[in-house]
């Protein structure tokens, strides 16, 4: 077990090294730059050159790459090119917890709603409850989050004026962003739970359980559910990673001061250090979340061996 985790972590480190390298060179390969004269028309070119030099951007790209690694070994992600007085480390430290908080609530809500929905729909297969749930799930999967956000924002914040539309100062402020974030995962989890539940209920061991006189409730809640949840656990890794690192759209619409918006913004800003910092941070996060969901899966399913 411990050996497996160490191996996976080592593989994760390799992944991150590749990620850093690819991201770094791709970023520099993009035309233009943070201080390119074409984009900053109102700043004299001499000043832009001096600015670029002060960030080391006048050096060859490979040398910058080496310099960047030196910083990384000191745990220093550099200073943001746009917010010149703040380090990337501090931006992540202040804004990630905000995203993580909203995201974590969304993960819990997604599971709490998605799994029961899928269960109800599987048990009432072919009946009204099933059709209603699956219609909702299909909408949930196919409608993009920005459409959901606009609709909810308009309905609850403007038309009905029940909920605040921006910021995160009270618990009411969490409702709309969390609802928008969990919309897609709820739909996905409901569909997944339904199909794996239907599959589980067809299995021979379910018939065995019934032949033993196990009550219908226990057949579903114990014998079928545990089997039905393994695909959901596999999905949990990417889900947690995706939601906790924030959503650009949702954070933008509801003015949530999270990290998700910085990611997209830093790309359009050509904020090199910021781009790299967030890529590395998200990368590590995804690797760890996937590892945790794999370990969870092995804990649930004794047939999964953590030795390879």
């Amino acid at each position: 077990m411990l050996q497996y985790i160490l191996k996976r972590l080592l593989a994760g480190v390799l992944t991150i090294v590749v990620l850093i390298t690819v991201a770094f060179f791709m970023m520099h390969a993009m035309p233009g730059g943070p201080f390119s004269p074409d984009e900053q028309k109102n700043v004299p070119p001499e000043i832009l050159e001096r600015l670029a030099a002060s960030y080391g951007l006048d050096k060859p790209v490979f040398q910058q790459y080496i310099e960047y690694w030196k910083g990384l070994f000191r745990g220093d992600l550099g200073i943001s090119f746009k917010k010149t007085d703040t380090t990337v480390n501090s931006i992540i430290a202040t804004h990630f917890p905000v995203s993580a908080r909203v995201g974590a609530i969304a993960v819990v809500i997604s599971l709490l709603i998605g799994i029961p929905l899928g269960l109800v729909s599987a048990i009432h297969r072919g009946k009204a409850a099933d059709f209603a749930t699956m219609a909702f799930a299909t909408i949930g999967i196919s409608v993009p989050v920005f459409v959901i956000s606009v609709i909810l924002l308009w309905l609850f914040a403007q038309k009905l004026q029940w909920l605040p539309s921006f910021g995160l100062t009270s618990w009411q402020h969490y409702i709309l962003p969390v609802a928008c974030l969990s919309f897609n995962p709820i739909a996905y989890i409901a569909r997944q739970t339904r199909s794996s539940m239907l599959e589980a209920l067809e299995q021979d061991y379910i018939r065995t359980a019934r032949a033993k006189g196990v009550s219908e409730l226990m057949v579903v809640a114990k014998h079928a559910l545990k089997n039905a949840l393994t695909p959901v656990i596999t999905y949990l890794g990417p889900l947690v990673a995706g939601l906790l690192t924030g959503s650009f759209v949702v954070e933008r619409f509801f003015s949530v001061p999270g990290i998700g918006r910085y990611f997209v913004q830093s790309v359009s800003d050509r904020d090199y250090t910021m781009i790299m910092g967030i890529v590395i941070f998200f990368g590590i996060f995804v690797v760890i979340c996937n590892l945790i969901s794999d370990i969870l899966l092995a804990l649930v399913d004794p047939r999964v061996k953590l030795s390879k």
Partner: protein
């Protein structure tokens, strides 16, 4: 004395393209302490018959019966809850595929104590001790250690032993074994059959053995029901079926048993044709299209049972006094 008495059982499955008539009005009984075999090929309705009696078929199945009496109680009138109180307690069941019949995510102990806790209200500790005893009874070595293991750590034969242990956990009055050895190696088959026979002898339980292999039950059963196309075509004692069979389908089955002891280079004679489509079962005898002695009447009407004495019943028009006299040998010279 009859433990189980089924009369007029009909089971249909409503599927997309129509209605499959899996069991079409059969009646039989199982006596106390009797070892009875139900034989037939795939799709003959033998498993469905017993699953109907148990009430373990999926929801799209429709079970109708004039009566299903078990130990003096009418099962067809019982609520699901009442039926459940019999399952695993008075009727145990063993299934065909031991590889998939145990839940992969729970330990063997967890699955073994379930019926004990549900039906006998045992505490976790007592149920565990009883489970140990049961594993010992079905001859599984190292029961202490085995209890803590998961099904995937067991071989097929060992899993089937666990299934048997679960089926007999509450000392049931009847055990239904649905092709318990089909998925196993021949040597393991023999062990499992021997185990079943020993248990039957020790506990005096009625056993209903469903199989497509006449050879398997020849040595164990006292009585055999031969099923074809959702109906019983012949039933009787082992001697009746093996030596005095009167139904051409039974002859066909007997002719397709390989005999390793015979010196002669006897050919296996397959039954020509294919089983009937149960979506549109034939009007008359289901075997008529494949029967070489088929008469016009066979295609129109199902034959009534002819009692040849001692419970040897044959459902065949050849039993009619005016029908041509046909012997089993006729088939072999073909």
């Amino acid at each position: 004395m009859a433990l189980l008495e089924v009369s007029g059982l009909r089971t249909t499955f409503h599927i997309g393209v129509g209605t499959v008539q899996a069991v079409r009005g059969i009646s039989f009984h199982v006596d106390k302490g009797e070892f009875i075999g139900i034989v037939g090929e795939s799709g003959s309705g033998k498993s469905v018959t017993m699953l109907s009696v148990m009430g373990l078929l999926p929801q799209y199945a429709e079970v109708k019966a004039d009566s299903i009496r078990f130990d003096g109680r009418e099962l067809s009138q019982m609520s699901p809850r009442e039926l459940r109180s019999l399952h695993g307690k008075e009727i145990g069941m063993i299934f065909q595929d031991p590889m998939t019949s145990l839940n992969p995510l729970f330990t063997v102990e967890n699955q073994m104590v379930e019926p004990l806790r549900i039906h006998l209200g045992m505490s976790r500790e007592r149920a565990r001790l009883r489970a140990l005893e049961l594993l010992h009874q079905v001859e599984i070595p190292n029961p202490e250690q085995r209890l803590r293991q998961y099904p995937h750590e067991f071989s097929g034969g060992m899993r089937q032993r666990v299934m048997i242990a679960i089926a007999i956990a509450c000392s049931p009055k009847m055990v239904i074994a649905d092709e318990p050895t089909t998925a196993l190696d021949v040597t393991i088959q023999a062990q499992i059959l021997e185990l079943l026979e020993n248990l039957k002898r020790e506990m005096n339980t009625s056993v209903v053995m469903i199989t497509h292999d006449l050879g398997v039950i020849a040595s164990m059963c006292s009585r055999i029901l031969v099923m074809y196309g959702g109906v019983i075509c012949e039933e009787g004692s082992v001697r009746d079926i093996f030596y005095r069979a009167r139904h051409p389908y039974t002859w066909g089955l007997l002719n397709s048993i390989p005999r390793i002891h015979h010196d002669s280079h006897e050919k296996l004679v397959p039954i020509r044709g294919t089983p009937p489509d149960m979506l549109k079962p034939p009007e008359g005898c289901p075997f008529a299209p494949r029967c070489q002695y088929c008469m016009p009447v066979c295609r129109r009407y199902m034959a009534p049972p002819t009692d040849l004495g001692d419970g040897h019943l044959v459902h065949c028009h050849l039993m009619h006094p005016k029908a041509p006299k046909v012997e089993r040998g006729g088939l072999q010279h073909d």
